[in-house]
Subunit: 239 residues, 2 copies
DNA sequence: GGCGATCAACGTGTCGTTAACGTTCGACGG
DNA sequence: CCGTCGAACGTTAACGACACGTTGATCGCC
């Protein structure tokens, strides 16, 4: 997921579709937009034939020509692990919705906020990153004498157990993935904050400070700044 | 359970059935799919005659020809310890659901996420591995010094015995399934309430409070909030 | 009416951002 | 080398937004 993730949005409402595509592009995604299921399927096929691949599919459920669920089924036949997020309408009956939702990696009920959408997209991409290669995203890191549980946002050292906030956790997670290497400022900012402006940069520095505080009981663990570049988590893998 | 576990999925909705089967195959299971109870029974018999055996059955409850519950009873006559997970609809009455629970190792309420399904499948397989004789897996949990009977909705501690309401019981059940792990807010809301809006969220908080009250006699049992993520039931498995 | 579930309201705590100010870094000219 | 300066970074505190906890009222259904 290092470069810009590629999304396919299939949404028949042209207004909403354009809005979604535009917003997601601003947030740093590459977006293809199609207006119905048939066109969506063609886009998916086209990408596959061109040797490419969508990282994530956003499918409206209620569409003319071919609904989102049917489309999902056909796509899953081509690529069974393509991550899919459904966009469902509030007005749908629970019963009819059930089937759709069951096959999704996630789903959003309209109306939803753009912010919420981006959050979900990131979550699903993170989960499915490296899935095809059978590389499970580690849920658990060892940092010197600490252990860090990503999902539970918990940092343990012996009996001590600290709850981390979401941002602390996300940042520490990225640092762990680049352990003893360089975590670039921009990359971290874009992945966690979605945008690297001045203020987000300051915010990130605040969180670096918080993490250093959390980790300072083990003198062998350090978060080192590389001026103008980023940060490096210096720590050995095993206690 | 060392090699690929073999599952039988019986689901009349062809869309959902295909999705389930494909997803589970991607996740490393061998999957047979049947569209109604009668066909499901034949598949089960066929496997037995061929000297084989399914490791787990996933049965939709509402099906034409032969519903999931009837099918389960007939299968249990042939193999009393066949692990079974039911797929139930939200719209079902609680009463009938409780009947199903009696014969189930677990059940999922539609809509559920694929992730959740795989989690439960693994859990049941783990439990049923090396189970020995045809002991029906009782649907009850140990929570610190409490025991929780899901079917009877009873929470016991020593001589004390509290009746739980339906919602209390469902919520506690989900917490138990994720014991010491994270039960995501959205997931719980969707599974129990069917929708995660503001008010359902408040409602769930009300029930979390009630459960904490029920469980506060054992100081080692805690329901911990993970801000913005969900809840964690911290408790040891055995008293 | 009694009970369970939801709704509404309000208090409390947590989180993330921002501001403010201090410190370090590195380039550059003397 | 050394001194200077601006930019980048470090840290703390404060604030606003919002998630959570709790209580009591209300609704709907035996």
């Amino acid at each position: 997921m290092a470069p810009t993730p590629k999304l396919l949005v299939v949404e028949d409402d042209p207004n909403l579709g354009a809005l979604l595509a535009e917003y997601l592009r601003v947030k740093g995604f590459e977006v293809d937009l199609r207006a119905d299921g048939e066109a969506g399927l063609q886009a998916f096929r086209g990408a596959a034939e061109a040797g490419g691949r969508y990282d994530l599919l956003l499918l409206d459920v209620m569409m003319p020509v071919k609904d989102g669920f049917t489309l999902a089924r056909e796509i899953r036949r081509l690529d069974a692990q393509a991550p899919i997020i459904f966009l469902t309408a509030k007005s749908m009956k629970q019963d009819t919705i059930q089937g759709f939702q069951a096959g999704a990696d996630d789903y959003l009920t309209k109306p939803f906020s753009m912010e919420e959408l981006v959050l979900r997209v990131h979550a699903v991409l993170r989960r499915s990153a490296g899935l095809g290669l059978g590389i499970e995203q580690p849920q658990h890191h060892t940092i010197g004498s600490y252990t860090f549980d990503v999902r539970k946002q918990l940092l343990r050292r012996g009996e001590e157990e600290r709850k981390l906030t979401t941002k602390e956790s996300e940042l520490l997670r990225l640092l762990c993935l680049h352990r003893n290497g360089l975590l670039e400022r921009r990359q971290a900012l874009r992945e966690i904050w979605g945008d690297d402006n001045y203020f987000n940069g300051r915010s990130m520095d605040v969180y670096i400070a918080k993490l250093r505080k959390h980790l300072r009981e083990d003198p062998e663990v350090e978060i080192i700044n590389i001026h103008g570049q980023g940060f490096r988590l210096a720590a050995r893998e095993q206690a």
